[in-house]
């Protein structure tokens, strides 16, 4: 199950979720606390010079162990679905 996390407030995420028809949860880390703890902070990366998260994906199993992850160097370059699925298939 995907879980989306950003600094967007819940209302904004709810709006996005409804508009796109997503059914998975969107979590709001408005103070970037979890983003900081995962060391994903992109300082002043937001449009108003606010601190945001860099794009990153973690596939974690039930024990909370990371099985696959992806960081991008370029905000336009994102992982392909088949890379992720290869990681997911390894989890039983």
């Amino acid at each position: 199950m995907p879980v989306a996390i950003s600094v967007d407030p819940p209302e904004v995420s709810e709006n996005l979720r409804r508009k796109r028809g997503y059914t998975f949860p969107f979590l709001s880390d408005s103070k970037a606390e979890v983003i900081r703890r995962y060391e994903l902070l992109h300082p002043r990366g937001g449009p108003d010079g606010t601190d945001i998260s860099r794009p990153a994906e973690f596939l974690i199993d039930r024990s909370g162990t990371v099985r696959w992850e992806n960081f991008t160097e370029d905000i336009r370059v994102r992982p392909r679905a088949n890379e992720l699925l290869a990681g997911a298939r390894a989890i039983r």
Binding site: V3, I5, P10, G46, P47, F58, D61, R62, G64, E73
Partner: protein, 152 residues
């Protein structure tokens, strides 16, 4: 008289401008399902190529003014394409520049720290709760934590 009618208008500056604009627009290719990997380079290359074509046009209009006309229109096209090229270069660097090192980020094989955050309805949800699943649904075998930039 024969001189002015024989002079051709060089379209190169406008073709070049079109290429620089296409270069900037090509940044949107990943949204259309195009593999994202080479896109930043394609965009930059298109814009650069466009500007080279513009320079060729200017050289024609100014250097070979006996054959070609279009000094004014060529200059206008050149000014715009320079603007788009500058924008493309700035965007290329800013989009690639993610300052976070993430050296201490959770690595494959490590456990991620648990946390609780409000969901889009404002209710606090923890990682453990997400794994236990909602009522009437099978608990998920895995979670894909997608950190994204926000401001959508």
């Amino acid at each position: 008289m024969a001189d002015t009618t024989a002079r051709r208008l060089t379209l190169a500056p406008w073709m070049g401008l079109l290429l620089t604009v296409l270069g900037v627009l090509s940044n949107g290719l990943p949204f259309m399902g195009f593999p994202a990997g080479p896109v930043p380079w394609i965009s930059l290359l298109l814009s650069l190529l466009g500007f080279v074509v513009v320079l060729l046009g200017l050289w024609r209009a100014f250097g070979q003014s006996a054959v070609y006309k279009g000094k004014l229109s060529g200059s206008i096209a050149a000014a715009f394409s320079l603007l788009f090229l500058a924008g493309a270069v700035v965007f290329f660097w800013s989009a690639r520049h993610i300052p976070a090192e993430s050296a201490a980020a959770p690595q494959v094989g490590q456990r991620v720290p648990d946390f609780a955050l409000p969901d889009s309805t404002g209710h606090s949800v923890s990682l453990t709760q997400l794994f236990s699943g909602s009522v009437g649904k099978e608990p998920p075998k895995a979670l894909l934590l997608v950190f994204y930039r926000g401001y959508w």
